[in-house]
């Protein structure tokens, strides 16, 4: 037994971190947020029309309305991710993939979560090998998930039934959301899939993309976000001074940071182990801990930042809002708890 990352795994993680730093660093993140429309100031309808800036490659679709409407995805970045093997990672080499497994995928998604990389990453990764062009980063794939769909307008292919979807003003500026009518249990064919497996409940019941894999990759993103907010809080606590000393010297602040680290490291052990075993119950447990680490981590980071934490300018809110969106994806907290309980 050696649970540590192998040299190759460390190199892979480092490589993705560098790629994302270069291609989606802080400036790109903030530019994407501004391009997505709205500064978040004022909740009026007036911000709705600024959507669709950027590369202008979203399909438009005529459904755009509200702040989270026809938002563009950076197609050049998407293709670069494809070229780097982000989507083809787990396809066999003979099929043009990288031939790696879930543990490596989890490391990639952890980095994506850390960088707040936007787009239907999980759905496209899971569609690689099934939907033409997904593996290469040519095709953007999304999937209906219960009552929600992420990135519906920007996607080329939608898996699952998305008829009658109406846009929400998404809480996360970088995740446009649509809401499906009814309870989301429709069984109609999805639009534009071209692969013929657009039926299903959107929860992976079609067996092609087991929902526990989606849950695990989502958990990995949450883990990356938790690690990042811990880092941000610690860095801020070391430099911000009040009462003549860095605020990190105050125990109340120090203990918030310590708790963030404890939650993050426990979630890390859980997520990595679930990637190794691929056991659906272990995945459900890892998801619980990763959601907790991300949600509480962003909240505590906000607290450590003080007034700065309440600003649009600090990245803290972006982590919190994305973590909220991810927490709604796939397996709910209640369902995960039930799943673990059933095995006790």
């Amino acid at each position: 037994m050696d649970f540590r990352l192998t040299g190759d795994q460390r190199a892979l993680k480092q490589g993705v971190r560098e790629l994302l730093d270069r291609r989606f660093g802080r400036e790109a993140l903030r530019a994407a947020v501004e391009a997505a429309g709205g500064t978040g100031a004022g909740a009026g309808e007036g911000v709705a029309e600024s959507a669709g800036a950027g590369a202008g490659e979203g399909d438009g679709g005529g459904r755009a309305q509200g702040g989270g409407g026809a938002q563009a995805l950076d197609r050049a970045l998407w293709r670069e991710l494809g070229a780097a093997g982000f989507f083809a990672l787990r396809l066999p080499e003979a099929a043009g993939g990288v031939g790696l497994g879930l543990p490596e995928a989890v490391l990639l998604f952890e980095e994506a979560g850390r960088a707040l990389l936007p787009g239907p990453l999980v759905a496209t990764h899971l569609a690689a090998g099934e939907v033409p062009g997904a593996a290469e980063g040519e095709t953007v794939v999304t999937r209906t998930d219960g009552e929600l769909v992420e990135w519906l307008d920007a996607a080329d292919v939608v898996l699952g039934p998305a008829e009658g979807a109406v846009p929400l003003r998404s809480v996360d500026p970088l995740t446009p959301l649509h809401r499906l009518p009814g309870t989301g249990h429709g069984t109609g064919t999805g639009h534009g899939t071209g692969t013929g497996h657009g039926t299903g409940t959107g929860t992976g019941a079609d067996g092609r993309a087991p929902s526990h894999e989606a849950s695990l990759l989502t958990a990995a993103e949450q883990l990356g976000s938790a690690a990042r907010t811990t880092e941000l809080a610690v860095a801020y606590a070391r430099t911000r001074e009040q009462f003549g000393q860095p605020i990190g010297a105050f125990q109340a602040v120090k203990h918030l940071c310590a708790r963030m680290l404890v939650r993050t490291e426990l979630a890390r052990a859980a997520v990595y182990a679930a990637a190794v075993t691929a056991d659906p119950v272990e995945v459900a447990g890892a998801r619980l801990l990763a959601d907790e680490a991300a949600l509480d981590g962003a909240r505590d980071c906000l607290q450590v930042y003080g007034g700065m934490g309440f600003t649009w300018e600090a990245d803290v809110h972006l982590h919190l809002k994305r973590a909220w969106v991810r927490a709604e994806r796939g397996l709910s907290g209640a369902a995960a708890e039930e799943l673990v309980a059933a095995r006790l």
């Binding site: 037994m1 543990p103 606590a237 070391r238 490291e265 426990l266």
Partner: protein, 377 residues
């Protein structure tokens, strides 16, 4: 990220399992928890059997992974835990092994491994708990002995111990961390008075130890005079590193039992309670994985457990208390009946966030040593 055990490790596990299966049925009945001499004899008898079968040294010499397997398998089989040998095997022993002279190792380690001698830990004092380095028990050199006077408190197993790993102040003028010395003190000598303290669980797990001009030979000093703080840190990192492996395994078993009880008594139908049990299941599974992570790190860095133990202990001690609170919710009115083991264990678990460094102190350690936050004033 490899969770599979090597063939050699699986071999070790299989041999141990077979030995446990043959040995455990031949154990004498467990003594009453209040019968200290009986407990000592029982714990030492078990250590003797381990020693004779070649497992006596497993806490020291075996690889971290073998130690993990050992603790996992013994707990799973329902074997006794270290008990009265806790300090000898997990504190004083490793310290002597790391810092003692050849002669000292010869004198003290064998009897610990054979279950012949029991140790206790005399660190805490009435005025020195979390701030251990402020301890005041004095040791004055007189020829070839130290003359020790002072008071220790919360000394676990003091009633049945042969030896005490004792921290004393040898230089009152030096800064507090620099005037401390580590001594091995015989508990039977003149001037040592043990007064048992009753815990909130009603038992006498620990005691006050009064020291009145106790003579301890200079040859019983481990490490240099005034270097005791550094020597001690070796001990404490052992305490926090691997001491809880068996307990995580135990918690997972207990949680399973609790779920069975809930299914039987109908509380399982309460979704809030059921989900609370599910969350605990996720928690202990993750703690087990974190243990494997820490053991893998220790294996790679040569076996000395690091600050990762603090991260673990913080979450574990809290989770274990939550386990007993959840048990109380499952048991309902029976949770008030001390005739049930669950409730006695619930009382014991209240010490987990205090003993071996309180949760607040652990958070200071995590924040300052791992995250690099500045020390407070």
């Amino acid at each position: 990220m490899d969770l599979a055990y090597t063939e050699e490790e699986e071999d070790f596990r299989a041999r141990l399992r077979a030995w446990l299966a043959a040995e455990l049925p031949t154990l004498p009945p467990r003594p009453d928890p209040l019968d200290w001499p009986g407990r000592r004899a029982y714990d030492c008898g078990w250590q003797r059997r381990l020693h004779d079968a070649g497992y006596g040294h497993v806490h020291w010499d075996a690889s971290p992974t073998q130690r993990l397997i050992f603790l996992e398998e013994t707990e799973r089989a329902g074997a006794p835990y270290v008990g009265a040998n806790f300090v000898g095997l997990l504190h004083a022993g490793p310290t002597i092994a790391a810092e003692g002279t050849a002669e000292q190792r010869e004198r003290w380690l064998g009897p610990v491994l054979r279950g012949d001698e029991v140790w206790c830990q005399g660190f805490s004092e009435p005025g020195a708990g979390s701030d251990l380095a402020s301890l005041r028990t004095r040791a004055v050199r007189d020829g070839d002995a130290y003359v020790v006077t002072g008071q220790k408190i919360w000394t676990s197993h003091a009633e049945v111990a042969d030896w005490c790993e004792l921290l004393v102040r040898t230089d009152p003028g030096a800064p507090k961390h620099r005037g401390i010395t580590w001594l091995a003190m015989p508990m039977s000598g003149p001037g040592v008075t043990v007064r048992p303290l009753r815990t909130l669980a009603g038992s006498t797990e620990f005691a006050e130890v009064f020291l009145d001009e106790v003579r301890v030979p200079v040859g019983n000093r481990v490490g240099d005079e005034n270097d005791g703080w550094r020597v001690t840190m070796v001990t404490l990192s052992f305490e926090r590193g691997t001491a809880f492996v068996g307990e995580v395994v135990a918690c997972r078993r207990l949680l399973g039992e609790l779920a069975r009880t809930a299914r039987k008594n109908g509380r399982w139908d309460d979704p809030v309670l059921r989900r609370r049990l599910g969350r605990l299941g996720a928690e202990f599974q993750a703690l087990w994985r974190l243990t494997q992570w820490n053991v893998s790190e220790a294996q790679a860095t040569g076996g000395v457990p690091g600050v990762g133990g603090s991260v673990f202990k913080l979450r574990y001690s809290h989770a274990r208390q939550e386990l007993y609170d959840t048990a109380a919710a499952v048991l309902g009115p029976d949770a008030l009946d001390l005739g049930r083991e669950w409730n006695r264990d619930r009382l014991s678990s209240l010490s987990y966030t205090i003993a071996a460094g309180t949760s607040q102190i652990q958070r200071n350690i995590v924040a300052e040593r791992i995250l690099g936050l500045p020390k407070g004033r």
